[in-house]
């Protein structure tokens, strides 16, 4: 409960900083008029007055905050629709991509980390840890280009004359929903976006499980005569996963950043690509709305991780 209350001033502080940054952004709603010779200084002043831009900055901020609290994020100049609507329209595509990536990276990452820990110092372990290092060092945008080069431009030949070729842009070929088509479009971007998480989670899972395997209660379980499989899955895995939950929540900001790049390169119609478009057109309201939304998501997911942590591990107490 106290953690929840702490999130409120945090969100307020974030909003002040974001407002301060974007208030200084040149361009803005009046930019199209300033260059127009038919518009006089008096017109500009009237426009400013109508938009409330002649009021003190703190007042403007409070008004803006009031609008945000009721879900009004302003009007997007580049999309000619309310910001909230523009973002919400793109949210499903982004969630589809991020969800698929998280699914891949958690599933494979935890699995690989487990194998690595159980067969410590084996060839498999070395291969997995080396690959994880590569994954963490890989620039997302270059990995995306290489995947496009391999799977979209050239295609991967299979024995028997088959060629794997995957679409490199967009979310689907037609407006009507076709699951197979959607899935095929999802493969490349989701693979690209999942790489960093996959590498991070596998490294954390490895060290976390290694730590658990060395504890006294694991030795006790082994001494009771339980099989290794039972020990691993019933006692080891449960405890090793606890810190990984936190890492997954903490990886969200990186995932959002990765989604911006991935969506831009793969022409994925999500919020990240919308953000880049807004950036190129100085669409202040949209940039602001996006930053507010993702900051809220991050704070919320951290809160969720704290709660989950305390629930999974009763030894942890927040006072």
């Amino acid at each position: 409960m106290r953690r929840t209350l702490q999130a409120i001033p945090l969100l307020l502080a974030i909003s002040v900083i974001l407002y301060a940054i974007l208030y200084n952004m040149p361009g803005g709603p009046l930019a199209p008029y300033l260059q127009n010779p038919h518009i006089t200084a008096a017109d500009i002043a009237r426009l400013k007055h109508n938009l409330g831009m002649d009021q003190p900055v703190p007042i403007q901020y409070l008004k803006w905050l009031g609008h945000i609290l009721v879900g009004d994020l302003g009007y997007s100049t580049s999309n000619s629709e309310p910001v909230f609507q523009a973002l919400i329209e793109r949210l499903p595509a982004t969630l589809e991509l991020m969800g698929a990536s998280l699914f891949i990276s958690i599933g494979l990452g935890v699995g690989a980390g487990m194998i690595s820990a159980v067969y410590r110092y084996s060839v498999t372990d070395y291969v997995i840890t080396t690959l994880a290092f590569f994954g963490q060092s890989m620039p997302v945008f270059w990995f995306a280009l290489m995947m496009q080069l391999a799977f979209a431009v050239h295609g991967i030949p299979l024995p028997g004359g088959y060629l794997i070729q995957l679409p490199s842009a967009g979310i689907a070929n037609s407006d009507t929903f076709d699951f197979g088509d959607r899935l095929v479009h999802l493969i490349l971007p989701a693979t690209v976006l999942s790489l960093l998480g996959l590498a991070t989670f596998s490294r954390f899972m490895r060290s976390s499980l290694l730590e658990v395997l060395g504890t006294d209660y694991m030795r006790t379980a082994a001494a009771k005569g339980l099989s290794f499989r039972t020990i691993l899955f019933k006692h080891g895995l449960k405890n090793a996963l606890i810190p990984v939950v936190t890492i997954i929540a903490l990886s969200l900001p990186g995932l959002i950043g990765g989604a911006i790049i991935t969506e831009t390169i793969f022409a994925w119609p999500g919020m990240g690509r919308l953000f880049i478009t807004a950036l190129n057109q100085s669409d202040l309201a949209l940039l602001m709305g996006y930053l507010v939304l993702i900051a809220f998501l991050v704070v919320f997911s951290n809160l969720l991780a704290d709660v989950a942590y305390a629930w999974l591990d009763p030894r942890v107490k927040y006072d």
Binding site: L10, M138, W142, M146, G257, L279
Partner: protein, 312 residues
């Protein structure tokens, strides 16, 4: 009362330092991949430093003799038409190898400078928060909360876009990029330093330093900070790798180092449109980023093992 010329505890600290210096090198040498990383990074630094001497061509010059509108292939692929460009040219006929060498300068210099800035800010703020505690600590830590809650990449993009829009994109000089990245990435270091200081200030030698009348600044920088260096060094090393990726990402999206100055990121941005016909322009710059970042990450890993095996 004058402060004693030899601070209490220094002799002991020196012994400890000499001892750990020996074990540090033996431990680091045991980490084979960190050693390999050091070698690779050293080569990269030499190549960057000697970019002018090593470059076969002017990195910004267009090869008007051979280039006919399409990128020239590397010599190992087709020696008859490569025009002497060992790794080929980019889409406008500039020598790829020369641009890679000059790009190394940008990447390494941005990485190092931004991390120096980040470490300076983070160490000072973290030390103040950890040493004084109380409301100063609370306020500073809430500030780091704010910074850590806003995803870095969009924030960086917005800031660089503001700079670009307020004058011209050319305003996104090396210095501006470094300052923006450095100014946003200090919170991790600050938290690390704070955590060390919270425990260090309770130790006997800190108490002793206080008892003989040292002022706070001297205690913080002369007595406590040397004991908090290990985690800072590890974090700083890993952050150099992160900054190199961040800079190349910004440049790739057109909001980093501006052309014609070559950076690995903006070279990849140019290569994107010619992916079908010029694989080399897309492969080599990325390979440079990957190898450099990988080398630094392995060095960081080795440092972590060498400085404190219990630290994870």
């Amino acid at each position: 009362m004058a402060a004693p010329s030899v601070p209490v505890g220094t002799a002991f600290a020196d012994e400890e330092a000499r001892f750990s210096k020996v074990t540090f090198w033996t431990r680091l040498r045991r980490h084979k991949l960190a050693v390999a990383g050091l070698v690779v990074l050293a080569l990269m630094v030499i190549a960057a430093a000697l970019a002018k001497q090593l470059s076969p061509f002017d990195p910004n010059a267009i090869d008007n003799v051979h280039w006919q509108g399409t990128p020239l292939p590397p010599c190992f692929q087709d020696a008859s038409i490569c025009g002497g460009h060992a790794l080929g040219t980019d889409d406008v006929g500039r020598d790829l190898l020369s641009r890679l060498l000059f790009g190394a300068r940008i990447s390494l210099a941005v990485g190092l400078s931004a991390v120096i800035m980040e470490v300076l800010i983070g160490t000072i703020l973290g030390a103040i928060a950890g040493y004084y505690g109380g409301w100063i600590d609370y306020a500073l830590m809430r500030v780091t909360d704010v910074f850590l809650s806003i995803p870095l990449l969009p924030l960086l993009l917005v800031l660089t876009a503001i700079v670009a829009a307020s004058s011209t994109r050319a305003a996104l000089s090396f210095g501006v990029i470094v300052i923006i990245i450095g100014a946003l990435s200090w919170p991790t270091v600050a938290r690390l330093v704070r955590a060390s200081f919270l425990s260090l200030r309770e130790r006997e030698f800190a108490e002793a330093a206080r008892a003989v009348g040292n002022n706070d600044g001297r205690i913080i920088f002369r007595h406590l900070l040397p004991n908090a260096v290990a985690p800072i060094v590890v974090q700083a090393t890993l952050d150099v790798a992160n900054v190199i990726i961040v800079e190349s990402t910004l440049s790739f999206l057109g909001l980093g180092i501006q052309p014609p100055t070559a950076s690995w990121g903006n070279m990849l941005s140019d290569a994107q449109s010619n992916l079908e016909i010029a694989w080399w322009a897309a492969v080599f710059p990325g390979l440079c980023i990957l190898v450099t970042v990988l080398a630094i990450n392995y060095i960081g890993d080795g440092l972590r093992d060498a400085l404190d095996p219990n630290m994870r």
